[in-house]
């Protein structure tokens, strides 16, 4: 059976704290760019920078251009709109920025603050861009759900829902041009459809062990080929999949569960979940079956792993500091390269406390 192994791993120490990072869709065939949202805790300076990634034997990041957001970045997503990259970033102060990098030299062409006034009372906790960059959904801890449509003429926004603080949202993810999922406190997942306004269409509340159901969802991902299934990660190392068509049950991939079959990879917060685009032949076979596709996760206790339903998890990294974010390069299917960072404040790795780790995978058999 094919298993994944870490082929190459490089640490790139940063002088600042890294809040989030994403691979930018390619501007040209040769260049690779990475968007990094950073925070300097000594000077309280925040920045969103585009770095060119040169991946020879020793990968290096070179800053191309940067933008100063209003406060610390809470969420960062990228997409491609008519071949041009588009970046959406939200801040803890409740502002949203849509950035259009110049496709030639990666400089920031226009920096549209969206909109001039604040959309949220408090932090924006999650956002997601449509694959074609035409719309951005954002959620906040104040319980507001907003939709920003990115048109050729400009940006337009409207409020989809306001729970008036009765529900705090922590994550958002598009499923289709009309549907999206949100996550919140109490491991609550909600499914929304723009065609049916007024509130969530359906929702899921974990009904397993008491502890796990009282956690927080930190991240959601939905696979393009499985638009009805959300995979979510959150407190107490819980990672679970939810099929909208069976709203009252979930498949637990990792975490504290009543059943003894589920493995518990970590007991701390799972910060990010993403479907693992790097798939072996057996994984491809699964595409046609009902099982959950492989998921990559990172956690507060420094674990980066791939989870497969019904299999032992593959631990790629076990660091002695938190891994709070990672991203997979969607453009590199056979030989994958990912960027992740240690953003546990204060971890002095190689003299610095923010570290971007670059790794590539090999399909060992």
């Amino acid at each position: 059976m094919a298993t994944e192994t870490l082929k190459q791993f490089t640490r790139l120490p940063q002088s600042t704290y890294i809040d989030a990072l994403r691979f930018l869709p390619p501007l040209s065939a040769l260049d690779r760019y990475v968007v990094v949202a950073s925070f300097n805790s000594d000077s309280d300076e925040t920045s969103i920078g585009i770095h060119a990634l040169t991946s020879t034997d020793t990968p290096t990041l070179t800053l191309q251009s940067s933008f100063t957001p209003s406060s610390r970045t809470s969420s960062l997503k990228v997409a491609q709109k008519s071949l041009n990259p588009i970046i959406a970033a939200s801040t803890v102060a409740g502002f949203l920025h849509i950035l259009f990098p110049n496709p030639i030299d990666a400089s920031f062409e226009s920096k549209v603050p969206v909109p001039e006034k604040r959309l949220y009372l408090g932090s924006i906790t999650g956002l997601d861009l449509q694959e074609n960059g035409s719309a951005c959904v954002s959620v906040g801890e104040d319980g507001r759900v907003n939709l920003i449509s990115v048109g050729d003429s400009g940006l337009d926004y409207r409020q989809i829902f306001d729970s008036k603080g009765l529900v705090s949202y922590t994550a958002a993810q598009w499923a289709s041009p009309f549907e999206f999922a949100t996550g919140g406190l109490g491991n609550l997942l909600q499914w929304w459809d723009q065609r049916r306004p007024g509130g969530p269409v359906t929702q899921f509340k974990g009904n397993w062990a008491n502890v796990a159901s009282s956690g927080i969802v930190h991240s959601i991902d939905i696979h393009p080929s499985r638009k009805h299934t959300c995979v979510a990660g959150g407190s107490y190392g819980s990672v679970f999949a939810w099929d909208v068509r069976r709203p009252h049950q979930s498949i637990v991939l990792s975490g504290i569960d009543n059943s003894e079959t589920t493995t518990c990879l970590s007991e701390s917060d799972v910060w990010e979940v993403q479907y693992d685009t790097f798939m072996s032949a057996s994984d491809h076979a699964k595409l046609s079956t009902t099982g959950v596709l492989p998921v990559m996760i990172c956690s507060e206790d420094g674990i980066l792993a791939v989870l497969k339903q019904g299999e032992e998890p593959t631990e790629l990294l076990a660091e002695n500091c938190a891994i709070n974010c990672f991203d997979i390069d969607q453009q590199n299917p056979s030989f994958r390269m990912g960027v992740y960072c240690f953003i546990d404040e204060g971890v002095a790795y190689n003299d610095r406390y923010g570290v971007i780790g670059l790794f590539s995978m090999a399909n060992g058999s």
């Binding site: 002088s15 805790s41 000594d42 309280d44 009372l121 408090g122 932090s123 801890e141 104040d142 319980g143 729970s163 008036k164 603080g165 009765l166 529900v167 705090s168 919140g184 406190l185 109490g186 609550l188 909600q190 509130g199 969530p200 929702q203 509340k205 009904n207 008491n210 159901s213 009282s214 407190s235 007991e267 701390s268 917060d269 507060e300 002695n320 546990d344 404040e345 204060g346 971890v347 002095a348 003299d351 610095r352 406390y353």
Partner: protein, 719 residues
């Protein structure tokens, strides 16, 4: 804490504290408030060395401007707290702080394990294993403080490069190594003198900044060497050789000797005897017997591990020197400088006190020279101390270097002086980590450090040093996370201070809160984490995030607050209970969960939602089954003590349709009686002054009463 520990500047002060007044720093506050601002300020300490300044507008001006906040809270970061110039570089300091964490924790675990084991066996707590662990620990920390990295040697060695280009070592590392030599490394005690020789060769450069040193002399000479044609005519050349030789840098001395003009091919013929003498001295230097296990590559001398072997070799070597000294060849040597200076070198080798004294610069160098050439068999700290005193008399310094003070403290066997020196010159990190070395094997030091002192509030010196270090860590946003490791190793006040540290973290910042909870989970501080969650819950609640507030209070299992906020929530619910906007409560009710053990009074909401749902179904289409379920839900709600009284009437009014059910009575006699009793109770309660009237039509009560009476009658008939 520092204020408590500082005493009048004698050696017993344990915390570095400089009362010297410096120029005050001026900070600008960015408060964004429009003038005029009357100076009403509240100042308190925030996290770390951040000052929290609250600027308040005076009430009259606040009223005049609309939408202007009544004040602003500004966090002001104060900088420049590092007294020690060595670790001024924050990044370097953090690397050391994080790096020393795991060796320290590892050693503490070992210590606890050994203590537990010795308790079982009733044996002495320390044995050979312990000193092995301490040495391991010391080596790990030592490697952390920097490595002896020399720049890569070029393939063709430049004969005129005397000194290798090495990175400037840190005095912190030098001090740590000194402590390691004297306290941790028990195995190499028999060749401690040679270790000191090595130590000086590694760190002599550190003295250069403050006092003249052999290192400085060599650096100066090297700079001139390139422009010198005939080296043997230069007095500096001979000075450099004798100095290098005196402090035992044999390789440098030999290398310099071989630069002598007589080695040049065109001169070899005319200066044969002279060259022979130079070479003879060089050979003698490189053959010097040394009492040590081995020599690093490139260093000269012959090693003897056994004392008697060494003494024999030493005598033989000295005999050879004396023989050369009395040789007739000197008469044939025509170069005056060479003759005189070579003879001087022989005097150094023979241990001539005045020759040694003039070849060395400061007392530590002279001290090392004494070990090398006069008393290579000195042993015991007492005799080493006596010798040091003698050297200081010969080469007094007006203001001794901090490393000199440390050496003296160690030789004097005065733990208090060593501690004070560590603390004064190298800061809290050093002292917190060095106590492990000091206590290893020395009963006296252990008593001194572990004895509980009333002056320190009942804690030991060791604990107080750790607490001080933990305070330093706690004061920075990037290091507070590692302070728990040190606090937890403090028996008396550690846990209390850890709790304070965790309480000080801003719990309303969700990332910090989660980190806080994680730390509490690791150290079983359930009460602390539940308090943090309570703070977070109340914070969210106050800022209108009701869901988040309820969530965290639920996590904290805070029944009292949940019940109190339930009452407030019901005020909101009360307005919307009969209309359709109740749907917006859905998310919050889901949060409460079906098992509402931890929901406090809020469980009512959940039951109410279920009731409302079945009532909805009844209205949509007439189903007997749904109606029966709705009736059951109503009874459950009315029976439940957590259902607030003010909802009784609205609930019954909502269920009028159930009470007047056409086909058959849905409630039996006893159920109807229960509802009637509740209605009666409500009528009585209405007379009380604190009763809250709900916004229902005035005939609501009577129509409910009629419906209930009708239902009762039908139920009696049916039974």
């Amino acid at each position: 804490m520092p204020g408590l520990l500082t005493e009048s500047g004698n050696s017993s002060s344990v915390v570095s504290y400089s009362p010297a007044a410096e120029t005050p720093a001026v900070y600008t506050l960015h408060h964004c408030l429009k003038p005029p601002i009357t100076p009403r300020l509240s100042i308190s300490w925030s996290r770390g060395n951040t000052l929290r300044v609250t600027i308040l507008r005076s009430p009259e001006t606040a009223n005049s401007v609309e939408e202007e906040p009544g004040g602003k809270v500004v966090d002001l970061k104060l900088s420049g707290e590092d007294v020690d110039s060595e670790i001024n570089d924050a990044v370097r300091w953090r690397r050391i702080a994080y790096g020393s964490l795991s060796p320290f924790a590892h050693l503490q675990n070992k210590k606890n394990a050994m203590a537990a084991l010795s308790e079982l066996r009733h044996s002495t707590p320390y044995d050979g294993d312990w000193s092995k662990y301490v040495l391991e620990y010391s080596k790990e920390i030592n490697s952390l403080l920097g490595s002896k990295k020399s720049s890569p040697a070029s393939l063709i060695e430049d004969p005129k490069t005397v000194l290798k280009n090495v990175e400037e070592p840190s005095s912190l590392k030098a001090a740590w190594e000194l402590l390691e030599i004297f306290y941790a490394d028990k195995q190499s005690h028999s060749w401690i003198l040679e270790r000191l020789v090595d130590w000086l060769s590694d760190y002599n450069t550190l003295f250069s900044g403050q006092v003249p040193s052999v290192h400085l002399r060599l650096v100066e000479f090297q700079a001139e060497l390139i422009n010198t044609q005939v080296v043997e005519n230069e007095i500096k050349y001979w000075q450099a050789i004798s100095s290098a030789l005196a402090v035992g840098w044999l390789d440098i001395a030999v290398k310099l000797l071989r630069l002598h003009g007589s080695y040049q091919l065109n001169q070899l013929g005319t200066r044969e005897t002279e060259n022979g003498l130079v070479e003879a001295v060089a050979v003698l230097v490189s053959k010097m017997p040394r009492m040590r296990a081995d020599l690093p590559s490139g260093k000269l001398g012959e090693c003897y591990f056994n004392k008697s072997d060494f003494v024999r070799a030493w005598e033989k070597w000295r005999a050879q020197i004396t023989k050369l000294d009395c040789s007739a060849f000197w008469l044939q040597c025509s170069h005056h400088e060479t003759k005189e200076n070579l003879k001087n070198l022989l005097q150094i080798l023979l241990g001539n006190t005045s020759a040694l004294s003039s070849a060395t610069c400061h007392w530590v160098e002279l001290y090392i020279a004494h070990f090398l050439y006069i008393r290579p068999l000195t042993s015991g700290l007492e005799s080493m101390y006596v010798l040091a005193q003698k050297c200081i008399q010969l080469k007094p310094t007006s203001s001794p270097h901090k490393l000199m003070r440390l050496i003296l403290g160690i030789l004097e066997e005065n733990t208090e002086v060593v501690l004070a020196e560590c603390s004064r010159s190298f800061g809290p990190w050093m002292i917190a980590h060095a106590t492990e070395l000091l206590t290893a094997g020395s009963i006296e030091a252990e008593i001194l450090l572990k004895e509980e002192r009333d002056k320190l509030g009942g804690i030991s010196l060791e604990e107080s040093h750790r607490l001080v270090y933990a305070q330093v860590l706690s004061s920075h946003a990037l290091t507070w996370q590692i302070a728990p490791i040190y606090l937890i190793s403090c028996m008396k006040h550690g846990l209390g201070l850890l709790e304070i540290l965790l309480y000080k973290q801003p719990a309303y910042h969700s990332q910090v809160l989660l980190k806080n909870i994680e730390i509490c989970r690791m150290y079983d501080l359930d009460s602390v984490s539940s308090n943090a969650m309570k703070i977070a819950g109340v914070h969210h609640w106050k800022h209108g995030r009701k869901g988040a507030g309820v969530f965290w209070l639920q996590q904290a299992r805070d029944e009292v607050r949940l019940n109190r906020i339930a009452q407030k929530l019901f005020d909101f619910v009360g307005k919307s209970i009969s209309d359709e906007s109740f749907e917006q409560w859905e998310g919050l009710i889901e949060l409460l969960g079906s098992e509402s053990k931890t929901a406090g009074g809020l469980e009512f909401l959940h039951k109410y939602r279920d009731f409302k749902k079945s009532l909805q179904q009844v209205q949509d289409g007439i189903f007997n089954d749904a109606a029966r379920k709705a009736g059951e839900a109503l009874i459950l709600l009315m029976k439940n003590p957590s259902t607030p009284q003010r909802f009784w009437l609205p609930l019954l009014y909502d269920s009028l349709k159930l009470l007047n059910w056409q086909e058959r009575p849905l409630l039996n006699v006893s159920q109807t009686n229960l509802l009637l009793n509740k209605l009666q109770e409500l009528s009585v309660a209405r007379l009380r002054p604190d009763f809250v009237e709900v916004g229902l039509p005035p005939q609501a009560l009577s129509s409910v009463r009629v419906a209930l009476a009708t239902n009762l009658g039908r139920a009696i008939l049916e039974e």
